[in-house]
Amino acid sequence: MARSVTTRRKIINTALAWSIGLLIFFPILWTILTSFKTEATAIANPPQFFFFDWTLENYAVVQERSNYARFLWNSIIIAGGSTILGIIIAIPAAWSMAFVPSKRTKDILLWMLSTKMLPAVGVLYPLYLIFIELGLLDTRIGLTIVLMLVNLPIIVWMLYTYFREIPGEILEAARMDGASLRSEILYVLTPMAVPGIASTLLLNFILAWNEAFWTLNLTAAKAAPLTAFIASYSSPEGLFYAKLSAASTMAIAPILILGWFSQKQLVRGLTFGAVK
């Protein structure tokens, strides 16, 4: 039954929702606005909101100073690669946890998640040395592997929850129908879990795209993605807010657009299983 809500309450709720939304969105909005200001207007006090001389000068400078396309390409390869690699490893893992759980399955899941509670900097040193040893420093493949490992617990967890929603009888039917384990996962489980897998892919792509700690510490020039591109504008020779904002806007634009178009899928993915 629908709960009746008075008009006054509706207005208050709407206003509240909008203010919280604006509060969260404000830093991004401010970054985008600043990117269209001159350096002088950017640091003006009191700050100027909309009524300033809009300029594209910052974008031109950023474009001139660094090769945006290369950073973008690295971001796509690293975020995409780590997500796909993670999914390939996580599907069988989540399958076994969801459908043939052992006494320790819950412990393993928690333990995997607990690695996310470890501050990343705690393993920076050993990982850095390993990377030097293996010649993986500043390579896309190295970064792809690290980001895959960092996000793997979340991928496994998400897939595990989706898989648990799939009735076991359907997989048993596949087994009775003569499907091998491989066919069962490939032709029955995966297609049925497509919505879940899609939102897992999406969320992890976004997480990997935004990941800054490892990308900054393990790359120099060749494999640097967009996060490093932004960081390169917070230079010691003085703060250039407008240019930094322009670089940031360029870095977040692709993921913002992707998120905008797939928000339905994202919301569905994040609330999947909450209601029957």
Partner: protein, 334 residues
């Protein structure tokens, strides 16, 4: 071929023994029904035969070869599940084709068998729909179609009709019965509904707590139940079981008399009582009679035109030649 033999098969979940070691042979071409109350282990037994559960000890032979350690796919059995377990992302055609695709059967043969199965099951117009767009009965037919096309050595049915409404259930029951007559393939059918068991089976296996209480044809179970459990479970309405004086009069601990073997009259019967509830089915009337001094309630099945009402005093005449006698342990006295 499809002879299935269970030798000393047992199953434990952890420390709980669900099925103590049991022996059972299901002959080729036979329609065998496993029946029993919920939790009696009938579904578990079916899943052991299917290979979906590992047996704890003993062995399973299919056509004389040891299948104990074979995975489900290798046993050559087909299963129809209670929930239908169709692949929701595939069309009906693809659902039915799936086992053949897994077996690597060529496309032309696949199409031939799909057409044949669809025609037999009235699914021809629905081949390009998805399971979500079908009714319960149609879904169940797709599940059966998927089982037929593999030409299995035996079909396993796990309560296939319990998700259907009553009218549909009777129809599907007949369809499955006809399918068996046509294919002459071994079928094992699990149900808790004794009417389904009685109407469909060549052979019924009555289970209680994982133990086989009796194996026999429907009429054997009806006429000579081996113990009070089978006596009470087979037959509808249930057999009246009486203890005490009335039983000792027949040299037994318990005597049983089926509702249809008691005649009612206004007077002159052996027993008397007061009508509690009268259920008029048209063809028959069931009287639940109280105050007989024999048991809480005695159920009587009378012809439809007999018209006693709630509160009427009536007399009952059991046909003594139809009396079943049981000893202190509930076992039948011959």
């Amino acid at each position: 071929m499809g002879q299935i033999t269970l030798q000393k098969v047992s199953k434990k979940f952890g420390n709980a023994e669900v099925i103590p070691p049991l022996d059972l042979t299901i002959e080729d071409g036979e329609f065998t029904v496993f029946v029993g109350p919920s939790g009696c282990g009938k579904s578990t037994l079916l899943r052991l035969i299917a290979g979906l559960e590992d047996i704890t000890s003993g062995s399973i032979l299919i056509d004389g070869t040891d299948a104990t350690d074979q995975p489900p796919a290798k046993r050559g059995l087909a299963m129809v599940f209670q929930s239908y377990a169709l692949y929701p992302h595939m069309t009906v055609r693809k659902n039915i084709a799936f086992p053949m695709r897994m077996a690597g059967i060529d496309q032309a043969e696949q199409d031939r068998r799909i057409e044949q199965a669809a025609a037999a099951l009235n699914l021809t117009d629905y081949l390009d729909r998805r399971p979500g767009q079908l009714s319960g009965g149609q879904r169940q037919r797709v599940a059966i179609g998927r089982a037929i096309v593999r030409e299995p050595s035996a079909f396993l049915f796990d309560e296939p009709l319990s998700n259907l409404d009553a009218a549909l259930r009777v129809g599907m029951r007949l369809e499955i019965g006809e399918l068996h007559k046509r294919l002459r393939t071994t079928m094992i059918y699990v149900t808790h509904d004794q009417v389904e068991a009685m109407t469909m089976a060549d052979k019924i296996v009555v289970l209680r707590a994982g133990v086989i209480e009796q194996v026999g044809t429907p009429l054997e179970l009806y006429r000579t139940p081996r113990n009070t459990f089978v006596a009470g479970f087979i037959g509808s309405p249930k057999m009246n079981l009486l203890e005490g004086e009335e039983a000792s009069r027949h040299d037994a601990h318990t005597v049983g008399i089926r509702p249809e073997h008691i005649d009612v009259a206004e007077e002159g019967g052996l027993w008397s009582g007061r009508v509690g509830v009268a259920e008029h089915l048209g063809s028959d009337t069931f009287f639940h009679v109280h105050e007989t001094g024999l048991a809480e309630t005695i159920t009587v099945r009378a012809p439809g035109e007999v018209n006693f009402r709630h509160g009427d005093r009536i007399t009952l005449s059991p046909r003594l030649e139809q009396l079943h006698r049981f000893d202190r342990d509930g076992a039948r006295i011959a």
